[in-house]
């Protein structure tokens, strides 16, 4: 598996020669366009644009820009839903199968602005039908800033939890008589993690957080440390562990290591950190079908200031075969 | 074999040909073929056994009892009488009649059965009495055991489908605990979605069709004429034999009995008793009326009959012409007039009208209860 962090302006030179289809996700975030604006449309014939029916209006302008940029291509819409994972899975299957049936084999996937759940469902599709595909290249645009313009103590990305559910395709093997081990890759939103913990009431709780230098701001690293301490004061079986948020394979290994400490438990993993680490949770689940992935659907996003695009992106492949 | 022009078979056949979406697509099963295969299997191996096997079970029961110590002669004789039921036909002819009746109910109604529902109903018709091979008592609860013994290549390995057929078939009779509401107790949604099988409707159609299938095709004229029927079962066979016509019209049903002088004057064995055929007709048609009211609950709004008309005519001895002066008894069984209060009062209608300890609420109970409650 390779993983390269590059300047976005150098993207073209790091892409494989052979790409049939480009998959991207239209969103309210400006970052959704970064890769599309920096990759030559000549490279591929098909463009699959994921559009979230629940966020369609807030992302409409960006959606129209995508359609305009790729007007000469065969555009396939992937109408996903933030509320209904069934609609999302069907849309993923339909749109990709459509491209495959027309001859597409190798895909370039911009993972940046997919919701975590949609991204996981997409990865599951690739994993399940990997033999139908040629080369799969993944991209992720980093952000220069989150919660743009807000003071550290006022930063937010999303609010409220509409629903907590298992991710479609990753039900795990939750046995009624076993103890539960909840593993949370903690990100920015400790309150959402708290809600998840309240819902699951696990026997064992493992909180993962990235090293200080990978945190959005030093203040957030401190907040996460404080949150962990608070949990440890409240609950009796809380463990901390570290994972590399910008390395999917590394995240996978960290999760596996944590799981091995408590064999014979029902393992539920929720990635609340970077998309790359969320991909790591999927890799862990592919190797170990006992893992259930859980997703807490936010009620509302910080539409106006979620993020600002950075100057770097990640190019990587994944061990899906 | 059920003819191709039977409404239900035609519905199924067309549904398969049109690849109707109601038919499950798993395993590329041809549901018409599956029905015919099961029909052939049961016809060849099971249906013809039901009557004889039920009798054999009764004999086994008597044998077992006779081998016990301290069983008195009186007890043994009573058990022999109780277990001397020679069932009317429960074989292929009866199944064909039930299917025919069910098809007519569907035709005269407005249920728009899907092809899959037609399949399920046809299968349930075939399986509803197979449990009799293990004996009459609780035969409807033994359907699953028979199904489990059939090769999955014949019956299919879709557990849910087999379960659905067995449950619908079993609801045609019997009780759950002391409760005869077997259709209401079916573990399926009372208001199913558009793609779901209407289990309660199909169970009610089967149950009512079974009631309407108790006609002369179930009786053996030869056995009756040669006095071969066991005493305790005589009236059941006469009843069946004398029911000459069942006509299902739009909104009403007609049952026509033909009896002659000899039949009307004689009493027939019914268990340990002796009864007139006319009295048996009254009892059985009243039961039919109650079944009608019960099944209508689940058949509404798709199928509705407002009336069952019973006609009884007296014929000459060989039934070639009506007797003169004519004796014609006709009556309608329908909901009419103001409903009568049940003898048990409101507690009969509302068994839930009880307090926390399960005692019926009455004025006296309330007075006793509030006496212990502190005033504001």
């Amino acid at each position: 598996m390779y993983l390269k962090r590059i300047l976005i302006k150098d993207l073209e030179s790091h892409l494989p020669g052979d790409i049939d289809a480009f998959i991207c996700c239209s969103s309210f975030e400006a970052r959704c366009k970064t890769i599309a604006q920096n990759v030559s449309a000549k490279r591929f014939r098909w463009v699959i644009i994921a559009e979230n029916e629940n966020l369609f209006e807030v992302g409409l302008r960006n959606t129209m820009e995508f359609h305009s940029r790729f007007a000469s291509k065969i555009i396939i819409k992937m109408k996903v839903s933030g509320h209904s994972p069934i609609i999302t899975e069907d849309a993923v299957a339909y749109s990709i199968a459509n491209a495959l049936s027309q001859g597409a084999k190798s895909f370039l996937i911009d993972t940046t602005t997919f919701t975590r759940e949609t991204l996981l469902i997409l990865l599951n599709y690739f994993h399940k039908y990997i033999d139908r595909f040629g080369e799969l290249t993944f991209l992720y645009t980093s952000a220069s800033e989150y919660s743009v313009g807000d003071l550290p103590e006022r930063m937010w990305l999303s609010r409220g939890i509409r629903e907590i559910r298992s991710v479609l395709g990753f039900p795990g093997n939750i046995m009624p008589a076993r103890k539960s081990h909840l593993i949370i890759l903690l990100g920015f939103e400790a309150d959402r993690a708290a809600r998840l913990i309240e819902q699951y009431e696990p026997s064992i709780l493992s909180i993962g957080y990235g090293p200080k230098d990978t945190s959005i701001t030093p203040a957030h690293h401190e907040m996460n440390v404080y949150f962990c301490r608070k949990l440890m004061a409240m609950y009796s079986n809380v463990l901390k562990f570290s994972f590399p948020p910008n390395d999917s394979l590394g995240t996978k290994r960290a999760i596996q290591k944590q799981i091995n400490k408590f064999p014979n438990t029902n393992v539920i993993v929720s990635g609340m950190n970077t998309k790359l680490s969320t991909i790591g949770t999927a890799l862990a689940a592919f190797d170990n079908s006992e893992i259930q992935l859980a997703y807490a659907e936010p009620d509302i996003y910080n539409f106006s200031g979620y993020s600002a695009p950075g100057s770097h992106c990640y190019v990587f492949d994944l061990p899906l075969r | 074999m059920t003819p191709e022009n039977n409404r239900l078979v035609a519905l199924l056949s067309k549904g398969v040909a049109d690849q109707c979406p109601s038919l499950p697509r798993e395993g590329n099963v041809n549901y018409y073929e599956r029905f015919r295969t099961n029909e052939r299997f049961l016809t060849t191996n099971v249906h013809h056994l039901t009557t004889a096997a039920a009798m054999a079970q009764q004999i086994k029961h008597i044998e077992k009892l006779a081998n016990k110590n301290n069983v008195t002669r009186r007890t043994l004789l009573d058990e022999i009488v109780k277990n001397s039921i020679w069932l009317t036909d429960h074989g292929v002819t009866h199944v064909e009649t039930v299917i025919e009746r069910a098809a007519q109910l569907v035709l005269k109604g407005n249920c728009n059965l899907t092809a899959y529902e037609a399949f399920i109903l046809l299968m349930a018709c075939h399986f509803h009495d197979v449990g009799n091979v293990y004996g009459r008592e609780k035969h409807e609860q033994r359907i699953s055991a028979i199904m489990d013994s059939i090769d999955p290549a014949v019956i299919g390995d879709n557990t849910f489908e087999r379960r659905l057929v067995a449950d619908i078939a079993a609801a045609h009779g019997g009780k759950i605990g002391n409760d005869k509401d077997t259709i209401g107790a079916l573990p399926y949604k009372a208001q199913p979605g558009p793609d779901e099988v209407r289990a309660h409707l199909l169970a009610a159609i089967l149950r009512f069709a079974d009631e309407l299938a108790e006609d002369y095709t179930r009786a053996s004229r030869f056995a009756i004429d040669h006095d071969l029927i066991l005493k305790a079962s005589e009236v059941y066979h006469q009843y069946a034999d004398r029911l000459r016509k069942v006509k299902i019209n739009e909104g009403s049903i007609e049952l026509s009995f033909e009896i002659n002088k000899a039949v009307s004057m004689q009493k027939y064995g019914k268990g340990a008793k002796q009864v007139f055929l006319l009295d048996e007709i009254f009892d059985r048609t009243l039961k039919l009326h109650l079944e009608h009211l019960y099944c209508m609950r689940f058949m509404r709004p798709y199928i509705h009959f407002s009336r069952i008309t019973i006609k009884i005519d007296l014929y000459n001895s060989n039934y070639s012409k009506l007797l003169r002066p004519a004796v014609h008894i006709e009556y309608d069984l329908e909901e009419s007039g103001y409903p009568a209060s049940p003898r048990g009062g409101i507690h009969c209608v509302c068994p839930n009208l009880v307090n926390g300890s399960g005692t019926n609420w009455t004025g006296q109970l309330l007075q006793n209860t509030v006496t212990d409650v502190e005033s504001d």
């Binding site: 807030v58 994972p85 069934i86 299957a93 006022r154 937010w156 609010r159 509409r162 559910r165 298992s166 991710v167 039900p171 093997n173 939750i174 046995m175 009624p176 008589a177 309150d191 819902q199 699951y200 009431e201 696990p202 026997s203 301490r229 004061a233 409240m234 609950y235 009796s236 079986n237 539920i268 259930q292 859980a294 009620d299 509302i300 910080n302 539409f303 | 499950p24 697509r25 798993e26 395993g27 489990d148 299919g156 390995d157 879709n158 557990t159 849910f160 379960r163 659905l164 573990p187 399926y188 949604k189 009372a190 979605g193 558009p194 793609d195 779901e196 099988v197 839930n352 926390g356 399960g358």
Partner: protein, 594 residues
Amino acid sequence: MTKTVKIRNPFSVQTPEEITAKDAVSLFVDVFTDFPRIPHRGHTFVHGPRGCGKSMMFRYLQPDCQCLAHSCDIAELPFFAIYAPIKNTNLSLTELIRLKDLNLDTMLNEHFLTLYLAVRAFAATEPLEIPDKPQDRQSVRDFVEKHFLVLLRRCGSSLTHSTTPNMSVQQLFAFALRLCEELYSEVIMFLKTFSSSAPSAFKGPLCGYLDFLYPMLRQMRKLPFMPDGPIFLMLDDADNLNKTQTVILNSWVSTRTTSDVSLKISTQLNYKTYRTLAGTTIATPHDYSEVNIATVYTSSRNRYQERVREIVRKRLSLAGIESTPESFFPPDREQEEEIDRIAETLKREWGTRGRGYRPSDDVVRYARPNYIASLKGTRKAGSKYSYAGFEQLVHVSSGLVRCFLEPASQMFAGQVSHNGGKPVKSISPNLQNDVARDESNNLLFEEFDKLASEEGHENEYYTRVKQLSNLVRSLGGTFHQILISNRSERRVISIALSEEPTPEIAAVLKLGVQQGYFHASSLGNKEGTGRTPLYILTRRLAPSFTLDPFGFAGYLFVTNGFLRDAMSSPDVVKRIRETGVDSYFDSGQLELFK
């Protein structure tokens, strides 16, 4: 070299499942005099918000705790309780949504739920000291071979497993448990591979309550070491079942099986429906009895206080801390002395200026409110009302034990840190007050505060949350204004609705109850024509609005107009402050409880 000894936090929250029987029995305070129906035969719903003690009750009812508590064998117990926690994604897997509106939906959900409970039933035997004599082994073998396996086969199982002759009792139960787990896994595998575009047939057995679970449990009851009494199936947090599973469970409740099996179902007031498969509705009392823990403890504060005192006393004792709850959580001495001085003044002046029937009435009604009012306007740093003190903290927890224990746990951790690791004998009033205020502010601001910046991107739920936020702040502010006014009754923290609420208002109030900001109750109206809905603001917010947490004797009658204003903006408080409470609310609106 000094040895660092880790100090055990006596208030740390363990999920009741994790607590050993010994600890559970030590910690448990008998609440069944408050809820007598729960440990008796009959289906029961136990409602209450998170943290009110439902799971702890269920833990205590389990046979290992009961045997320890009553020093007896299993056979001597009055019932055998099987605990079945329904966690968020145990049973309501997302994959099940694919079955919606398909024929298999009901059957497979029932099969899944049935197997889940069957596994829990066998798992319940693991921690028990079940005799393993030859006759016990034979009974259990007969149960497994002649009932359990037969029932499974009748449900369509083609498993050919059988027991081996020298299996012990525990091994036999483990064998049955593993079989059920195998079938449970099969369902998950089926769901994983199920596709709407190419649906596969389910080929496994289909077990239900009436054809498998109930007859199995009935036979299990007859085992020689089992009690004569019924089996309790305790489903904890049944809100987490999906809609189909909820309907199925209701159908089970409607069956008359309580002589053998009683269902004890806890909910967090979010139970999806009471409809059954037949389309009817289960109802109390004929199908089940019902207990709302929050209602009992909100309406009977003395009982709750006693319960918490006992819980805290036990926890301190278990941790080796020789303090009473009151001395462990001392109040702010200076504040209490000042309040006592005010009380003395009120008693002295009652003869000339008193309002209540007795001097003590005036003390209760006015001492603390007068003190709080006296703090208003003072510029002294730190001159804020303190919520320290065991009694105050109990009141602030608002009938939810967890809302006492969680802050207490933080207070303890803070005090340990402050003490430099030395043993803790009490929590400083300042620390108590800080934590109580933090908790209150978290409850108030967590979800609400930052939403204000997101105008224009609203969905229905978001709008309702915002309205609830405004309503809570409006009412909190209003109650504070009443508290510091000169009215005869100032300790008001409830509203009564003087008219039928509009659907919008009803939805916001319902959300408030669900989220724990209000507790719903009712009053008999004067006309005798029915009951008036009453909404009591949670005392957990008392620190945010500087309210007197010690009890309440009044409620404010409000109209839809007032509620609409309050929901649209907390500015109503400004208007009340400017106009004065007396002018804003006419005399009929502020009423006393009898």
